[in-house]
Structures are given as structure tokens and as C-alpha cells.
């Protein structure tokens, strides 16, 4: 429809990258900060138990947001990205993959950036799920047990780096060949 401000494809891209992916990145940063900043030495107090309760729910939310980002990315935004244009079509703006591959300067955006985006986020989702599990199962000890805290921090730190890189690559792709 000509009067629509955004197409359905564009809306799914925004849901994937901005709402879910952006939300997951913020939740990851908040979880990481909280895990380190709210650590306590020795036995946990009533205050730290309360903080751990909120933190465990934040970690669960992070994992849920990441899984939604990954699933929407794979099943809603990737198919139109990789759709094949009809023979002879010269305007490739509706076919981002082929648009990117039609110019030597942007070929890397598919061969490198999108190839990473296809798989690496699934690893991030698995890692964040493990961290969320630790957060929920060991809620009472999460802030006072150094080993558990270190494990959850390591998982989320790796996750944060992966999601940041993937998000940046997504921005590059969307700037050059947005789903319209």
C-alpha cells in the first residue's frame, strides 16, 4: 500500500534489530553490570537476596529477548533478505542480498557480515540461557558465591561481545541494503 509509512518487511526488521536486539543488548549490559557491582562477600543478606531476585529475572528476560531476536531474525527477516529476484530485473532494492552482491565494494557485507549474523547469534542465545539458568537455580548464592558469579559473568560477557558485533554488522547491512 503506497500510503503506508513502513512496509511489513521494514517493521519486522525494526522489531528484530531495534526492539528485540536492542532490548537484549541493554538487558545484557544491565545484567553484567549488576553481577559485578552487586557482588557481596560471604553470606548473603536480605538486601542482596532481594537484588539477586531482580537480577535473576533480568537474566531470564535477557535470554528471552535474545531467543526472540534470533528466531525473528532467522524466520522473519532473513527470508526476504535472501529472496531471489526474477530474471532480468535491474532494480534490486527489494532483494538486499543480490543488491549487496552486485557491487564489489559491498560483497563482504554478505560473504562476511551476514554469514556471521546467520549463526553466531544462536551461540549467544545458548550462552545467555545458561546464564539465566544459573541465575534462577542459584539465586540465593548468585551474588555471594564467587564461582557462580564468575561463571554467569563469563557467559554474559562473551554474549555481550557477540551481540554487539552482530548488531554492528546488522547496522552496516541495513544501511546499504535495507529491507523495504
Amino acid at each position: 500500500m503506497d500510503s503506508m509509512l513502513f512496509t511489513e518487511r521494514s517493521i519486522w526488521t525494526m522489531i528484530h534489530g531495534t526492539a528485540l536486539g536492542g532490548g537484549a543488548l541493554m538487558a545484557l549490559a544491565a545484567s553484567l553490570f549488576s553481577l559485578r557491582a552487586m557482588r557481596t562477600e560471604g553470606a548473603s543478606s536480605a538486601t542482596s537476596r532481594n537484588q539477586a531476585r531482580y537480577l535473576s529475572w533480568l537474566m531470564v528476560s535477557t535470554a528471552v529477548l535474545l531467543w526472540l531476536t534470533v528466531i525473528v531474525g532467522t524466520y522473519a527477516t532473513f527470508p526476504p533478505y535472501r529472496a531471489t529476484p526474477p530474471d532480468g530485473l535491474t532494480d534490486l532494492t527489494q532483494y538486499p542480498r543480490f543488491l549487496i552482491q552486485s557491487k564489489p565494494g559491498t560483497v563482504w557485507l554478505h560473504a562476511f557480515a551476514m554469514e556471521i549474523k546467520e549463526h553466531t547469534p544462536w551461540i549467544a542465545a545458548m550462552l545467555s540461557t545458561a546464564a539465566a539458568f544459573i541465575g534462577v537455580r542459584y539465586r540465593a548464592q548468585l551474588l555471594s558465591d564467587a564461582q557462580l558469579n564468575r561463571m554467569a559473568t563469563a557467559l554474559l560477557a562473551i554474549c555481550f561481545v557477540l551481540v554487539s558485533v552482530v548488531a554492528l554488522l546488522g547496522v552496516f547491512i541495513n544501511k546499504v541494503a535495507p529491507l523495504q
Binding site: F78, R82, L127, A130, A140, I158
Partner: protein, 109 residues
């Protein structure tokens, strides 16, 4: 793996380490399935044709991750596990999995 039996389940670290190692197995599974595909040795069937092979590869890796987690959790949930070795193995698996999803690595196979 050295274990200490006899502690209450909530106080043992087994379930945490099971989830940590399973995350490593899942990460490595993603990379391994991708590299097998790139080497032409195994191609997971597409589960959703419009998304192509990535739907099969990632679903297969997720199934391996969940199965691995279920087995490890079942075996370790009430145990105290020596964490250092599990920690190192998990980080190696995670690092390897990430590396194998890195396109420049594919040209080496």
C-alpha cells in the same frame, strides 16, 4: 571428573557446571555443523525453505545443545564438580564454536 558427593542439591555446583559445559557443547555444535556444511561433508536439510539451510543447521545445533544439557544435568545436578577443568573445556568449546562460524576460517578447509 572429581566429584564430592553428599552435599544437598541446592548447595552443589553440578547443575551450574552442566549448563556451562552444555553451552560450550551447543556453541561448538553450531560451529561444527557450519564447517561441515562449508566443507561439503554434511548439509542439514532446510526446515523452512524460505530461510534455507540455516534453519536446519541451527536447529540441529540447538537439539545437540539441549540433549547435551539434559544428559549433563541429569548426571551432575546433585554433585559437587571440580570446576576448573569444566570451566576451561567449556571456554575452549565456546571459542572454537565461535571461530568455526567465522567465514575466513572456512577458506582453510
Amino acid at each position: 571428573m572429581a566429584t564430592i558427593e553428599g552435599k544437598p542439591a541446592a548447595a552443589t555446583n553440578g547443575a551450574a557446571l552442566a549448563s556451562f559445559l552444555a553451552a560450550g557443547i551447543g556453541a561448538f555444535a553450531v560451529g561444527f555443523v557450519v564447517i561441515l556444511n562449508e566443507a561439503g561433508l554434511f548439509s542439514a536439510p532446510a526446515l523452512y525453505a524460505p530461510a534455507g539451510g540455516v534453519s536446519g543447521r541451527t536447529t540441529l545445533a540447538a537439539v545437540i545443545w539441549l540433549l547435551g544439557w539434559a544428559v549433563l544435568h541429569n548426571r551432575w545436578k546433585n554433585r559437587e564438580i571440580e570446576s576448573r577443568r569444566v570451566y576451561i573445556i567449556s571456554l575452549i568449546l565456546i571459542g572454537s564454536g565461535i571461530l568455526l562460524t567465522f567465514p575466513p576460517v572456512w577458506s582453510l578447509v
